[in-house]
Subunit: 734 residues, 2 copies
């Protein structure tokens, strides 16, 4: 399979066409493109010509020729990417001999003392870049001006290649480059919650892109395009299967299917991981138990893991969701999470694999505030996990809310490498029809200070290993990728996939920088476009917070599908599945008291954090109702009381969607018609949904506050009963 992309290029020469033919074809393709054929499939790698003519001329002068040694599949990809990228961007045929030009050679090579990278003296720079980091430097070698892309491994060169192409895509100056870039985290992963039947849990962009039925014989070209897209943003691992796991994936026929994907991904530097169903020894091993201390169980996993590595020698490891939401786990046998994780870790250690054990656990038998349960379960286990175990922690303690204070586990398990789990798919942020650019959400968590080793112990530094000196470190995002032609359904949601990759590589990047890169590559380098769209993107998530979950409200979404508002639901089996559990609105006030007078979830944070949030007067208002039950009459900094502040936020949020609609309309000159129309329709839908959220929530909370909606706002035109009557039995993603 890895040959496919290569043969595509080499075969160009085989297709014989006259010059007239080429011009004709080119014209027709151009017109087709102008006519609106941008489907979004190309993501941020559209490689359309640089539109700034002086810059284009300058690029053309500086890149006369490329030189790539194609000694490995990865380096062949490097070469092909440079050819297709530069051909598109520079609008000229790219010389690949590396010899013809006096000046302007672009050279991509894995560090070679005898090659240009060696002659250019780049060795010392490469001492900082590890296995995956790269250097891009302008150097004169043999009297010729070179741009050299290099690294210590082939994959590093591929990362550098995509970075270099990004410089041109975003119209940066390349005349004197000295870029050294090393990923801040080792594991940069996507988690696919994809099922055997191709449904995707919390997926809103069609079905799973993995067609398990036709694997391994048929390699959908999309698999390769997927790997390429991930490599372009530095993602180096993918968990193919849902954390709500199915043991069938561990059977021999399915391992062959996984192998086929691993083979397709390998040249792009991407390892495959699977989710392990803890009870697999019973379900497919025919054992009577899955007790992690049972020798037969241990042997079964040893054998199974050896079998996997025979098929996939560079298999990454397992992600495990255990004893959570009905999944089996070690606690079924009165063992701890560490017992379970270490059993798997011992079995996989000889093969250099790792176990990623999820901390997202809560139990309906436990009356304690759900916010506290992961901490209670896991902190006592700190130091008890094997060295090849990571504990994967969601950004917050509840569940991927539009806004969520950082998880108290960050900083609380210094002896254990914690992996970040973000959600790229927008389960709770409007799903497939909402623009919520998530970089600001990711950044907000990453920049939160845990104070675990004093001020500056940010979540980012906890998970990149620098606070507690962990060699294993990483960040994962629950994928928003599906079978829709544009991968993510909402064309602008591609930016969230992009942001996850970029932040996993470098969490110091700002949201604005990420938005800018993505917008330039995906749409346009036009300044007027960017000056509107960068803030529009970066403010979009805050807008969603305003009209869904303002001032610390959370988890008041519709039952099960989490689509739309349903703060009134109170009849579900498990108390913590009911929205009323979270908002606790009553005649006196609203919000969840997590202070020492309430659930004392705040007791799980460092004293500095606890103190800040414990005091209703110092707690940031954005988190107010998260930590406090606040009287309706409580005065906010704005001078409004809590009820008025809710009204203000809900109305302002909806209004801001309207403003996004209006701003977007003005972007028409800069955007291809197809995507312009798609996004226009989606903003219309989002506005309707914002009104729905606003009206439903305010009408409901008003039954407690007993206060009027301020008269400057238009009254809801539907009744609370109407909103309560809505049902979405076929909402996607369940």
């Amino acid at each position: 399979m890895k040959m496919i992309r290569i043969t595509r290029i080499t075969r160009i020469t085989r297709i014989k066409r006259t010059t007239g033919m080429i011009v004709a074809m080119a014209l027709s393709m151009l017109l087709a493109m102008q006519a609106g054929a941008e489907t979004g499939y190309e993501l941020w790698m559209r490689y359309v010509p640089v539109q700034n003519q002086p810059l284009l001329n300058s690029y053309r002068l500086q890149i006369n020729s490329i030189a790539v040694n194609t000694g490995s599949p990865t380096l062949r990809i490097v070469k092909n990417e440079l050819i297709s990228g530069l051909t598109g961007l520079l609008g000229k045929k790219i010389d690949t001999t590396g010899k013809t030009a006096l000046n302007g050679i672009l050279s991509a090579e894995t560090y070679n003392p005898a090659g240009v990278s060696g002659k250019a003296g780049l060795k010392s720079l490469l001492e900082q870049t590890g296995e995956e980091g790269f250097v891009i430097a302008t150097k004169t070698v043999n009297n010729k001006k070179h741009i050299i892309i290099t690294g210590n491994t082939d994959i590093a060169v591929l990362y550098g290649t995509f970075h270099f192409l990004r410089l041109i895509q975003t119209q940066q100056n390349i005349s004197s480059l000295q870029i050294i870039s090393t990923p801040k985290m080792k594991l940069r992963m996507l988690n696919h919650w994809d099922n055997l039947n191709r449904t995707v849990e919390r997926g809103y962009s069609g079905s799973s892109i993995w067609n398990w039925h036709t694997l391994p014989g048929y390699i959908d070209p999309r698999y390769v395009d997927y790997a390429r897209a991930n490599a372009s943003i530095g993602i180096n691992g993918t968990v193919l299967t849902n954390v709500n796991a199915n043991a069938t994936f561990l059977t021999p026929p399915y391992l062959q299917k996984v192998k086929a994907l691993a083979d397709a991904f390998r040249p792009y530097g991407i390892k495959v991981y699977l989710t392990a169903r803890f009870s697999a020894p019973i379900e497919i091993g025919k054992l009577k138990t899955a007790d992690p201390l049972d020798p037969q169980v241990q042997q079964w996993w040893n054998d199974k893991i050896s079998e996997i590595y025979q098929v996939i020698p560079d298999f990454g490891g397992f992600v495990v969701k255990a004893n959570s939401e009905g999944q089996p786990g070690p606690q079924d046998y009165k063992r701890t999470h560490a017992d379970g994780a270490n059993m798997l870790a011992s079995a996989i250690a000889p093969h250099k694999g790792i176990i990623i054990w999820r901390a997202f656990v809560y139990s309906n038998e436990n009356p304690v505030d759900r916010h506290k349960q992961a901490y209670d379960d896991f902190v006592p286990l700190d130091g008890k996990f094997n060295s090849n175990v990571m504990v994967q922690v969601k950004n917050g303690a509840i569940d991927f809310m539009p806004r969520e204070p950082f998880h108290p586990l960050f900083g609380a398990m210094p002896k254990t490498p914690l992996m970040m789990e973000f959600q790229v798919t927008q389960e709770y942020l409007g799903q497939g029809t909402t623009l919520a650019f998530l970089a600001p959400l990711f950044k907000e968590t990453l920049e939160s200070d845990t104070y675990s080793k004093g001020k500056g112990s940010t979540v980012a530094k906890v998970i990149d290993g620098s606070v507690d000196q962990h060699a294993l470190n990483g960040m994962a995002g629950v994928s928003n990728i599906g079978s829709d032609i544009n991968w993510t359904g909402h064309p602008l949601s591609q930016a969230n996939w992009y942001a996850l990759g970029r932040l996993a590589w470098d969490h110091s990047l700002s949201s604005e920088k990420i938005a800018e890169e993505w917008l330039r590559m995906s749409f346009s380098n036009n300044a007027a476009f960017l000056s509107t769209m960068i803030p529009l993107m970066c403010n979009s998530r805050e807008t969603v917070v305003r009209y869904m979950n303002p001032i610390g409200l959370h988890h008041i979404m519709g039952t099960s599908h989490h689509y739309g508002p349903a703060p009134w639901v109170s009849n579900l089996n498990r108390p913590e599945w009911n929205p009323v559990y979270y908002h606790k609105a009553d005649s006196l006030g609203i919000g969840f008291d997590r202070t020492s007078k309430g659930s004392n979830a705040l007791g799980q944070y460092a004293p500095e954090v606890r103190k800040l949030w414990e005091d209703i007067n110092t707690c940031e208002e954005k988190n107010l109702l998260w930590f406090h039950h606040v009287p309706w009459t409580f005065k906010m900094k704005s001078g409004r009381n809590v009820w008025e502040e809710l009204c203000y936020n809900y109305y302002t949020g909806a209004e801001k969607v309207k403003q996004m609609q209006a701003s977007w309309k003005k972007m028409q000159p800069f955007v291809d018609p197809q995507r312009f129309d798609q996004i226009t329709m989606l903003f219309n839908v989002q506005y309707e949904e914002a009104i729905w959220w606003r009206n439903a929530c305010l009408l409901y909370f008003q039954t407690f506050s007993k206060m009027p909606i301020p008269s400057n706002y238009e009254k809801p035109d539907r009744s609370l009963d109407y909103y309560k009557s809505l049902r979405f039995p076929f909402a996607p993603g369940i």
Copy 2:
């Protein structure tokens, strides 16, 4: 929505780019295309430049300018299609003023006495073409040479436009045209077996393209592309929903979603139809019964249908699967199918809608040969259906087998318009990984002689209404369309969608002609390519018959998913769901005796047909085991006995797949790399599956025949137990 495609084109002029820019963009697009970017999304409308240079020159001379009055959405589509099509095909910018050229004007207009169509004297020709037929004629008008595309309606002009583009795509001479084309059938439909949750029953190309959740607010560009593709082959109706129906589709929110699709499809001449859940009055109407003779039930349907027409004024009507495979129906109330159909027909008649009532019925309480049950149920009802009811009959009496004798209902209900139901999706023909070009299957049924009004009363003439003078007539195909980028999964399966449309328009077209058109447009006009690929396509279904269901075997596929062989299955609840019911292999012989000594299903055919098939010596061998239980030692015309003939067919079938693989490899110079690789992989899979079929079936039947596989064939390398052990719990399409 209907505006979208139009704005795409008009907006071209708004995008300002320099000439250098245009050349650069064109070159980059060209190189991208050469590099293998053919995803298949464009179907047979790729509009790549004509590669025959003299012909291209001649086309360019003959089409200097186009003139289209854009007075309706449909005519705007005509104009856009001509612009994008001719720009691509001719590789030049198309003048649209209609004035500049002295000669060579392409004019598309709905017949207009004062326009070129009138001046050219085309009125008389248009008297033959009805509402949908078109004329394409070369005429001199006002001293200028015109090619005139015209018809009595805008839609007719659109059909003519696609036909004209097809002439150029397939490199036909256009210098002196006089084409008159009128569809042989009024209703040319696709049936989508698509469910609310986006699964597709018997779908093998991803999920449903209908995203019910984001409708009506979001119109996926694919909906418009779908309508355009259908219009290009004359399809004018689509049943959006599965025949195993869900009443939810009839609720107000879903009718708004259906309306959004209807609006998108309307300019392309496509009406929407839904499936009616017979028990909907109970499920969503809260009635206690769905008895068709109950006045409340009748009123409920009257009201519901009026509601639908208020939302969708040109709604097509309902398709109903009743009292079949567990679906509710009038027999639940001891009423007949006619009672049920007429109740709906009366309610929909004032709105000019129709009811399509399926004859695919069989019951597990009925011990009679399943082959006979539809006939037994329906023939007594002939003449009892209202005039706006059609009865939709599958091509054969069992269920879309690889080969099936024509259904005995054809010709047996002269007073009732019968609609043909073919299956385009390959439920029983290898599903998503098999090339089975179905035009020969469709043709085989259509050309079968029912003898109902004497010799020449072919099935085609029964369903086109000419045998019994029915004004209502039509042909439907169960769609093979899904969310895969190339629509149909297997790139070559697009040809089956194409064939369905072309044959519904003109059933006299040969399979070879259809294959040729499709191959020329979808791949290449190269003569060497066509001379290999036309026969390869046309023989492919016969190959599938050979290695799956030779000499009249049928329905021996895997349980429920119908993937792969499982002739041994005998434990399912309903006798007629078990393969053993159909092949009846025993120590004496094999096959289903449907003669007068057996089930006498043959008694349902006209005497001429019955006589031919009743006699084991005159029955075509391809149907032998369909109608006869034949001793293992029976001598076939080949001189082989039945067992040897089975061996011959199974081995030859697999061998022919190998030959297709080899032939395809030689097509590499003519095919873009992406599709070449995809099809190569699929032929590899198909070969493995052919071996599986061959080995599994022969090893199983050998347990009855007790005869050896002839020694000239390689022995199966797996055991029967191995094949019996295979399970596919997550096979698609269930």
